[in-house]
């Protein structure tokens, strides 16, 4: 990205200078100059287009891990006011609605894990359906699927998946309001039939990690983290139903925008006013897909616990937190000193509520929400803590991952999947996958430096670093 049009607000936040005659809301890019220089120029184009959408409140923003997406950039954050004609956009949420990370802490340390690591990786790989074309054992009839769409992780718990305490540590206690199964197409429901309790492919993973280093002792204590402790992270989303909701409404919203005379800078921003019939239908369908994702991660948590117990009977896995990073959520934020209900789009961005927020469980009320930045399968991941909104100027949002540094095709040309897996094994990281092509596409070198993303996230005031995690074994789709 050429920094020529950027104006430094501080070393970790830049504004995009408007072109002559350009009418749009402000654009803010949270990152240092080095990360911005490596960022795709399309990020700037896409976020400037977002800043021209009606009803935007404040600025259109990108997080330090931003990269070129579709519609909105990945790592894009934008809040809209329904009362001011604000819109909702399927491209501002993404197709993998409520894709996110469930992080579980265990009572295991590295010495107790290491002798059983191979067995555990194999057991997880056998237990968790992963990869394109893989189906789960749970097949739901349409009426039952409607119940999942309304109930989310709470439905899963009622049906024997997981533990009651899990709900305390999932956003919205595992179930968002406003889900409307009637707004979800039959094809979307059919597409989910074999996909409950599956991981998917691409950048989705289930990873055994160890706490490498603690940065914030007080927050780590609240999160129940200590150096050398073993964790498990599950990265996946709403599977086929969410993908179909996203694709169905992309065309629906593109037509609604045209019908309603919305002047869109690019068709890829397909959107409709929140209060329009199409906007309300998408909102209901998207909330249904969020609940599917929350149920899916709850089922995967249950399966992972069973796999752990089969190998390490003494293992206990507690949910540290479950965060989604592809959502649009109705939240109240202070704008110019007054509370305002906003629809906050976070596409490849994590919610990061600060200390004292009423939505947080009592255990995290003093420290802020755990923010999880997932790394690649060969590098670290990070746990951070949300900051108060006086410090976080991005409607309580933060980074979600390392962010890709090169395309999948470039990665395929550069790495061989089988060789890469051997190299990682030599470095003590076990990979279990059915897809050698997928392994090459997901090579650690294809991602940005996750440590630089975490540092920029902290220095920009979005969240503060709590713990660095090192991968030990990774099940990839």
């Amino acid at each position: 990205m050429d920094l020529g049009r950027l104006q430094e607000i501080n070393p970790w936040c830049y504004a995009l200078t408007p072109l002559p005659g350009e009418a749009r809301a402000p654009v803010r890019l949270y990152a240092g100059a080095a990360l911005l220089r490596d960022m795709d120029a399309k990020v700037l184009e896409q976020i400037a287009n977002v800043a021209r959408l009606p009803g935007l409140v404040g600025a259109a923003m990108t997080m330090p891990d931003a990269h070129w997406g579709y519609g909105f950039p990945i790592g894009g954050v934008a809040a809209f006011d329904a009362e001011a004609g604000g819109i909702i956009s399927a491209g501002g949420v993404g197709f993998d609605i409520s894709c996110g990370i469930r992080c579980l802490r265990t009572n295991l340390d590295l010495p107790s894990l290491r002798p059983q690591l191979e067995r555990l990786a194999d057991q997880l790989f056998r237990t968790i359906p992963a990869g394109v074309g893989e189906e789960g054992k749970l097949k739901l009839a349409p009426a039952e699927l409607d119940a999942v769409m309304r109930g989310g992780a709470q439905w899963a718990l009622r049906h024997g998946y997981g533990e009651a305490a899990d709900l305390d540590y999932i956003e919205e206690r595992g179930c968002v309001a406003g889900a409307e199964p009637k707004s979800v197409s039959d094809l979307a429901k059919q597409r989910q039939r074999g996909e409950m309790g599956t991981l998917g492919s691409g950048n989705h993973y289930l990873e055994i990690q160890v706490v490498e280093r603690i940065f914030d002792v007080k927050a780590a204590a609240a999160y129940g983290l200590s150096a050398g402790q073993v964790l498990l992270s599950i990265h996946c989303g709403s599977r086929g139903l969410g993908h179909q909701v996203g694709t169905d409404y992309l065309v629906t919203l593109a037509k609604a925008a045209s019908r309603l005379g919305l002047q869109l800078p690019d068709r890829e921003l397909a959107c409709a006013p929140i209060k329009s019939p199409e906007g309300q239908q998408y909102l209901g369908a998207m909330n249904a897909a969020i609940n599917i994702a929350l149920a899916n991660r709850q089922i995967l948590t249950h399966l992972a616990r069973a796999a752990f117990r089969a190998v390490l009977p003494q293992a206990r896995l507690e949910t540290l937190y479950d965060v989604s990073h592809n959502t649009c959520k109705a939240e109240t934020h202070a704008v110019e000193g007054k509370p305002r209900l906003l629809y906050v789009h976070r596409k490849g961005a994590t919610r990061a509520f600060g200390p004292g927020h009423a939505a947080l469980p009592a255990r995290y009320r003093d420290t802020g929400q755990p923010v999880i930045i997932g790394g690649s399968m060969g590098t670290g991941s990070w746990i951070l803590a949300g900051n108060a909104e006086e410090q976080n100027g991005a409607f309580a949002s933060a980074s979600h991952g390392a962010g890709r540094a090169m395309s999948r095709h470039q990665a395929l040309r550069k790495w061989n999947g089988r060789e890469l897996i051997h190299e990682l094994a030599a470095n003590g990281i076990l990979i279990r996958t059915r897809s050698m092509r997928g392994a090459a596409e997901e090579a650690p070198g294809a991602y940005k430096d996750v440590d630089a993303v975490a540092e920029a996230t902290e220095r920009a005031g979005l969240a503060r670093r709590v713990a660095l995690l090192r991968p030990m074994a990774c099940v990839k789709g």
């Binding site: 990869g131 394109v132 094809l187 597409r191 694709t247 068709r267 997928g438």
Partner: protein, 137 residues
């Protein structure tokens, strides 16, 4: 022989291109590009066929609708497609997709979640139709 498919670069996802002498052939080739991301098409047999029909006057939205219907039908039936036929009559599009269920031994590539409106274009130049967009993977 003008029918072919190809890819173009996109940071996180994948750009696909289908080309053909007719718009329908370009769409068929775009479908080949999508499903070739998931497995090696030559290893598949067209054992089961699924009919696809839809109405769409806008050629670009028709491309997105065609690809997303194919992805939805494949996933809902646990199939992977390797052959495509499409016909257009005004705003009415009808076609078939053929393939077989996923089985052991098939290469597992990356799951395609859906076709997007990004870099979406359906154009004709020098008698060749080209259909392109970014697909989310």
């Amino acid at each position: 022989m003008h029918e072919s498919f190809a890819y173009f670069e996109h940071g996180a996802d994948v750009g696909i291109v289908g080309r053909g002498a007719q718009i329908e052939q370009a769409f068929e080739q775009a479908a080949m590009a999508v499903f070739a991301l998931m497995t090696t098409l030559d290893a598949l047999l067209p054992r089961q066929s699924v009919a696809i029909e839809f109405e769409e006057a806008d050629a670009e939205l028709a491309l997105v609708t065609w690809l997303n219907r194919l992805l939805g039908e494949a996933r809902s039936r646990a199939l992977v497609f390797c052959r495509f036929r499409l016909r257009r009559n005004g705003a009415h599009w009808s076609g078939t997709a053929a393939g077989e269920p996923w089985r052991a031994g098939l290469e597992r590539g990356v799951e395609v979640k859906g076709a997007t409106l990004t870099a979406l274009a359906v154009t004709q130049q020098d008698g060749i139709w080209e259909a392109r967009c970014v697909v989310d993977v």
